[in-house]
């Protein structure tokens, strides 16, 4: 044991005057480029704050978001809504609930919607895209017809239709509606890069070597096809937040508003937007900022993963 490791060290020494022992994989070199990108750092900071806020929301929020603490300051007749005051830094909403606490806890729902919708869309897209790209033939034709039909419908319209299919709208139907729109996009993206991989030299080389088909698909084709999909996932996190907000805004969000969500808060603010713009400003600003964060990370990831930019 000792002798073999010593022999290894000597070999190394003889071979590569101080060359690094472990190689630099593509992922590692992409990360090194990413770390130096200012756009990535800004995006990551936004996402970081957002995620920490969502995780710590139950402790940061001073009030129960469902309690109508400021109910006595609300008057529908005189269009009065509680303004900012000590203990309630952002004031209250139309029902006298603490806006600050609702914003904080709303981040949890927004994060949940974004992550779940992306995961479901990605999962569905991965399965369909892998089937189409790896098997080809009639499987490919069938899958791609389906995908093209879905893509031909404007995405928001599709999401609205899916959302409207459910008798009772909940947070989950919003997630599903947003996710289904993303499935064909992921499927198409993955299939495209799988096809390019299938025609590539290194897949031909693996075939020539006699590597089994399953290993070729899962070891060579899929990992090399994931780059664009990873980038797309990051962008979809942003899209999902905006789509979910749009659905809520259009009245297809969760019916129950005791659990706050930014899109839903924005939707409810419509009626009073002229007199009380702060009710729309905070959720809208938060949605845009977070979506921007994910987009910045996605775009810088795209640059970093581009092999042309390697060192």
């Amino acid at each position: 044991m000792l002798t073999s490791s010593r022999r290894q060290r000597i070999d190394d020494l003889a071979a590569g005057g101080g060359a690094p022992d472990a190689g630099v994989s593509l992922a590692v070199s992409a990360w090194r480029r990413l770390r130096r990108s200012p756009l990535f750092l800004v995006g990551a900071a936004i996402i970081g704050v957002f995620v920490v806020m969502a995780l710590l929301a139950p402790w940061l929020a001073q009030h129960d978001p469902a309690l109508r603490l400021l109910d006595d300051q609300v008057s529908r007749a005189r269009n009065e809504i509680p303004p900012a005051q000590p203990g309630h830094p952002l004031g209250g909403d139309q029902q006298g609930r603490d806006l600050y606490s609702r914003m904080l806890l709303g981040s949890q729902q927004t994060l949940l919607v974004a992550v779940l919708a992306t995961v479901i869309g990605l999962g569905g897209g991965l399965v369909l895209g892998t089937l189409a790209g790896a098997i080809g033939g009639w499987v490919d034709s069938v899958v791609m017809r389906l995908v093209d039909v879905m893509l031909s419908i404007p995405s928001l319209l599709l999401a609205v239709s899916v959302g409207a299919l459910f008798a009772r709208q909940t947070q989950f139907t919003v997630i599903l509606a947003v996710a289904i729109v993303q499935i064909p996009i992921f499927a198409r993206l993955l299939r495209g890069s799988m096809l390019a991989q299938r025609a590539s030299d290194h897949v031909l080389a693996a075939r020539a070597l006699g590597v089994r088909r399953r290993a070729i698909v899962f070891r060579h084709m899929l990992p090399n096809s994931l780059g664009p999909v990873v980038v797309q996932s990051t962008l979809v996190l942003a899209i999902a937040i905006i789509d979910a907000a749009a659905l809520s805004f259009l009245g297809l969000g969760a019916a129950d508003d005791s659990v706050p969500e930014w899109g839903q808060m924005l939707g409810r603010a419509q009626d009073v937007i002229d007199s009380h713009p702060q009710l729309a400003f905070w959720p809208a600003g938060a949605i845009i900022t977070v979506a921007l964060g994910f987009t910045l990370v996605g775009e810088s990831l795209r640059d970093a993963l581009d092999p042309k930019n390697r060192r």
Partner: protein, 345 residues
């Protein structure tokens, strides 16, 4: 045991040209390989030479059954490869390997050298325990002249020559009988080309390998081949022992290729025959009738050249030529008319 390892018989590979948005209509074919007969003997190096696009790679892949032949057969060590599919074909791949032109694109960028090498062992159940595998990998690296610390590094961290050594080591993992090397050095710096060719020669001697080496110029093949086949537009036009081919080329196309290689001796360079080919290489989708070379041949005759395809015939033992007038040209009974070729004698 027959002396021939690979027997290619009437091999054709035609690629359909598809048009149309809704329904793919086949509007024609690329006659990439169009009737090739050749035999590669055990332990020899067969050099295959021809211009870009003449079908060399397609032929090489068809020999390994990486592309489906349209017609003809490839018999590998007595087994007709067309009869194999699925698992038996996969098993057969252990005995025939390929080295690629572009060593970077043919190595998966996400795999370390170690996993690239282990993959072949694993695919053919040749990995017998961690210890034995580690020893085998060390041996392979040593054999191709790579440092032992290469294992944990990735293809993009190596130079072109080293990458090609990785590709060669990978082919060797499964202890093949045949290696098809498709332009193994044309992507490399001139300074390392000779090293890699020498490595291939050493390995052949060490492991008793049989080679099909593909190249686009005769100079590369000259170093390494025992026999050479010259390809033009999907067919072999001349085949001979390497020495015979270089000293007594009999096909007009071979003579043209040879005359394009500069000779270091200025006096010889001045006196030697120079044949400039006129016209462009015809498209393999619309090959000329009769002799494929007749559109560019300085010796073309009005009678048969554009109507009758010359078969590859043996003009003397071991030397085959596909030209109706090979003997007449050699004997000087037919000369190239001036204007079609700029030849100096």
């Amino acid at each position: 045991m027959s002396d021939v390892l690979v027997d290619v018989d009437g091999l054709k590979v035609h690629f359909p040209i598809k048009r149309g948005i809704v329904h793919d209509r086949t509007v024609g074919y690329v006659y990439a390989v169009d009737g090739v007969d050749l035999a590669i003997r055990r332990g020899e190096t067969y050099g295959l030479v021809g211009e870009s696009g003449c079908g060399k790679s397609t032929l090489g892949r068809a020999v390994l059954r990486l592309s489906e032949p349209t017609a003809g057969r490839v018999v590998f060590d007595g087994t007709d490869l067309a009869q194999l599919s699925g698992e038996p074909l996969r098993r057969m791949r252990r005995r025939m390997q390929m080295v690629f032109q572009d060593p970077l694109s043919s190595l998966d960028p996400r795999q370390s050298v170690q996993s690239l090498l282990v993959e072949g062992l694993r695919a053919h159940e040749l990995d017998r325990g961690a210890e034995a595998t580690a020893a085998r990998l060390r041996e392979l690296l040593d054999v191709v002249g790579l440092p032992a610390n290469a294992l944990r590094r990735y293809p993009h961290e190596f130079s072109g020559g080293q990458r090609q050594r990785i590709g060669i080591a990978r082919a060797l993992t499964v202890e093949p009988d045949l290696i098809v090397a498709d332009e193994p050095v044309s992507a490399l710096d001139v300074s390392v080309q000779a090293q890699v060719l020498n490595l291939l020669e050493d390995l052949q001697a060490q492991f008793g390998l049989t080679y099909l080496v593909i190249a686009h110029d005769l100079a590369v093949v000259r170093h390494i081949a025992d026999r050479v086949g010259v390809m033009y537009l999907g067919g072999i036009v001349e085949e001979a022992d390497a020495d015979a081919l270089y000293t007594e080329p009999r096909h007009p196309y071979t003579r043209a290729l040879l005359s394009a290689i500069p000779v270091p001796d200025p006096e010889v360079e001045d006196r030697r025959e120079q044949i400039l080919l006129t016209g462009d290489l015809p498209s393999p989708a619309a090959p000329p009738s009769g002799c494929r070379f007749h559109t560019r041949c300085p010796w073309r005759q009005p009678s048969r050249c554009d109507t009758e395809r010359p078969p590859l015939r043996e003009i003397r033992p071991g030397h085959r030529v596909a030209c109706h007038y090979a003997e007449d040209i050699a004997a000087g009974r037919i000369t190239a008319p001036t204007g079609l070729s700029a030849s100096r004698g």
